[in-house]
């Protein structure tokens, strides 16, 4: 059975059950501590994850694997969960009603994401994808007193169901042609048999379903509304966690199992990458709401990531892994600021960020660093990530794609600077000071240190990303 390869997932599932039990047993006042319990649990699981570095193996009848890639991605997902728990604790202070369920669903979603990095079988892929999506449906609609939250949940549910159906249909197509669901058996079959049209159709259907998860154009339509309506920590989890898990599944599927078909999928991904970058960044320009802006910009970032994937090289794939780390840190920091500000001024409109630098120099500086890194300004983490991805496109002879990538850096810089203009140059409408609690401040400092650290000392992180995917090439 080889249990240890799924130690992180088992620990996450156990944490979910502990949160559930405490939520049932504890009184209303005691439930305030559930956030702390979840944080401590996740920190312990992070220690377990660190203990597993370098470990590898397969288990559960070949359905799950632990390799350096899965280990790396699990680290990102645990990091994202920790950031989101911090935001959730801040967010729930102002929200009446039950709280325990949000932590429970968060941990369950993290379990699904973590499983998705380890899955080596199409059935397990589907089940873990559903675990993650189900939890996120409910989390999106969690604030039942807010019509926008319900609307966002409903939209996400309906479109997500279509995407799930598409994945399932694709799996059925692949199975009907090959008779296998396990990745290693599928690879063997696809290497020895020429692809039939039905195999290609199945591949496209799975790609479009996973494309919904990572918000790839043309499967991105849900993003702005859901990001705006969902509770902000949940929007952050969608942006960081869900995307990382989706990319983990996509990378393993495309670069190992569907590697024999790579002539067929690289050009599709290259075209969609260009479209995704252009759409995300251009549509972000007129946005007035910071969450919508971050939603559109997250679509743009998916475009960059797909650029690395479509080049299907060591450099491109390592670039994707490196960029996912940078993306976690910078988007995490931006959302931490958004949660802190919207808790205090009760608004997500960009014009209400006017004069933030006077009201809270710390939050303003944090937002500045996060947005500059998202735009790709050196020496921050986002710059080196974008550099690697564009370089991989050039190396793969995709010059037009590299050009689109470079143009988009400029476009994105413009709308990020619009936010910074509000924060630093506009006068504040109120001059009450915004204060942030110490633990929250600490997490935000950690993110900022990460953005600077990963940007300046890229070598160890790039080495980590390269060793994670080396065995595939």
């Amino acid at each position: 059975m080889n249990w240890p390869i799924l130690a992180v997932e088992l620990a996450l599932a156990a944490l979910a059950l502990i949160v559930l039990a405490l939520d049932l047993v504890w009184s209303r006042e005691q439930q305030e501590r559930l956030g702390a319990v979840t944080t401590v649990g996740l920190l312990l699981i992070l220690a377990l994850w660190w203990h597993q570095r370098g470990a590898s193996g397969t288990g559960f009848y070949g359905l799950a694997v632990l390799d350096r890639f899965a280990w790396y991605m699990k680290g990102l997902i645990l990091g994202a969960s920790l950031l989101v728990v911090t935001m959730t604790r801040e967010f729930l202070r102002r929200l009446p009603g039950p709280r325990g369920e949000l932590y429970l669903l968060l941990v369950l979603a993290a379990t699904g994401m973590s499983l998705l990095t380890a899955t080596a079988d199409l059935t397990l892929l589907f089940v873990s994808l559903e675990l993650l999506t189900f939890s996120l449906y409910v989390m999106t609609a969690y604030v039942r007193t807010d019509a926008r939250s319900i609307e966002a949940g409903l939209k996400y549910l309906i479109l997500g169901a279509v995407a799930s159906a598409s994945v399932l249909y694709g799996i059925a197509m692949l199975y009907s042609q090959t008779g296998h669901t396990r990745y290693d058996e599928l690879t063997l079959h696809l290497m020895t048999h020429p692809p039939t049209p039905a195999v290609l159709l199945g591949m496209l259907l799975i790609l479009s379903g996973l494309g919904f998860k990572i918000a790839m154009v043309p499967f991105h339509l849900w993003v702005p509304d859901v990001y705006e309506g969902a509770p902000t920590p949940v929007a952050a989890f969608l942006a960081v966690g869900s995307k990382t898990a989706g990319f983990a599944a996509l990378l393993r599927l495309l670069l190992t199992t569907l590697q024999p078909l790579h002539a067929q999928w690289t050009w599709v991904l290259a075209a969609l990458s260009g479209a995704t970058m252009l759409y995300g960044n251009l549509a972000a320009l007129p946005q007035k709401n910071i969450k919508r802006l971050l939603g559109y910009s997250s679509i743009g970032h998916v475009g960059y990531l797909l650029m690395g994937l479509s080049s299907a090289s060591v450099l491109g794939t390592a670039g994707v892994l490196f960029y996912l780390l940078a993306y976690l840190l910078m988007t995490g920091a931006a959302f931490l600021v958004v949660v802190a500000v919207s808790q205090r001024i009760g608004s997500d409109r960009i014009e209400d960020y006017a004069g933030l630098s006077q009201r809270s120099p710390f939050l303003a500086a944090a937002m500045f660093v996060a947005l500059m890194s998202l735009a790709g300004v050196p020496p921050l983490a986002g710059f080196f990530g974008k550099f690697l991805l564009i370089l991989s496109a050039v190396q793969g002879q995709l010059f037009w794609l590299a050009a689109i990538g470079a143009v988009n850096v400029v476009i994105s810089l413009y709308y990020y600077l619009l936010v910074i203009k509000q924060i630093y140059l506009r006068p504040a409408r109120e001059d009450t000071e915004l204060t942030v609690g110490l633990p929250y401040r600490f997490v935000l400092y950690a993110c900022l240190a990460g953005i600077l650290g990963v940007g300046i000392f890229q070598r160890p992180f790039l080495a980590l990303a390269t060793t994670a995917i080396q065995s595939w090439f």
């Binding site: 799924l6 599932a13 979910a16 559930l20 559960f60 009848y61 359905l63 799950a64 009446p96 009603g97 039950p98 369920e101 429970l104 669903l105 369950l108 979603a109 379990t111 699904g112 499983l115 079988d121 059935t123 397990l124 589907f126 089940v127 873990s128 559903e130 675990l131 189900f134 939890s135 449906y137 409910v138 609609a141 969690y142 039942r144 007193t145 949940g153 199975y175 009907s176 042609q177 090959t178 008779g179 039939t196 049209p197 039905a198 195999v199 159709l201």
Partner: protein, 189 residues
Amino acid sequence: MWTINKMFSIIGSHNFVIFFTTSGPHVEACFFYLFTTVMLVAAIGAVALRSPIYSLLSLLVSMFAVAALFVLLHAFFVAALQVLLYAGAILVLFLFVIMLLNLNQQELSRTRQHTLLVLGVGAGLVLLSVLVPILRLTAAAPAPDTPGTITAIGRLLFTQYLLPFEVTSLLLLAAIVGAVVLAKRRIDT
């Protein structure tokens, strides 16, 4: 458990299954076309009929026809689940929702828009034009020899597919908690 056993005693061991599956390719083909026709006509009825209750009953017929097709494929367990879950539980749920909503003619007519009809039919035709040539060109891989009985499926679920099976329990936990969170009437502070 009793229902499942009973279902199996009806569809699993009775003479009509043996008749279906052992009386030569011609009879099997006859039944295949019969049930496919029933399934398609009923499915079209489910979309086209005006009253939601009639649509639902038409869908029910379609589900039963699909279950019969599963029996033809020797997938007895899936056939039983099809009847129990889809034709039984899910359609009854639909029925309750339709009755509780109690839509009148005016509200129903708002959902019938010609643009949507045209778009839907168009998208369906495009899908058909892709699927038909693809499925014509490709032969399916041979089905595994294992019969689709409860024993065979149970054995696979608790060995080869143990992990997805167990993850499903977490999935159900998320679904139950989610249903309670979203459906609870009173938000206590």
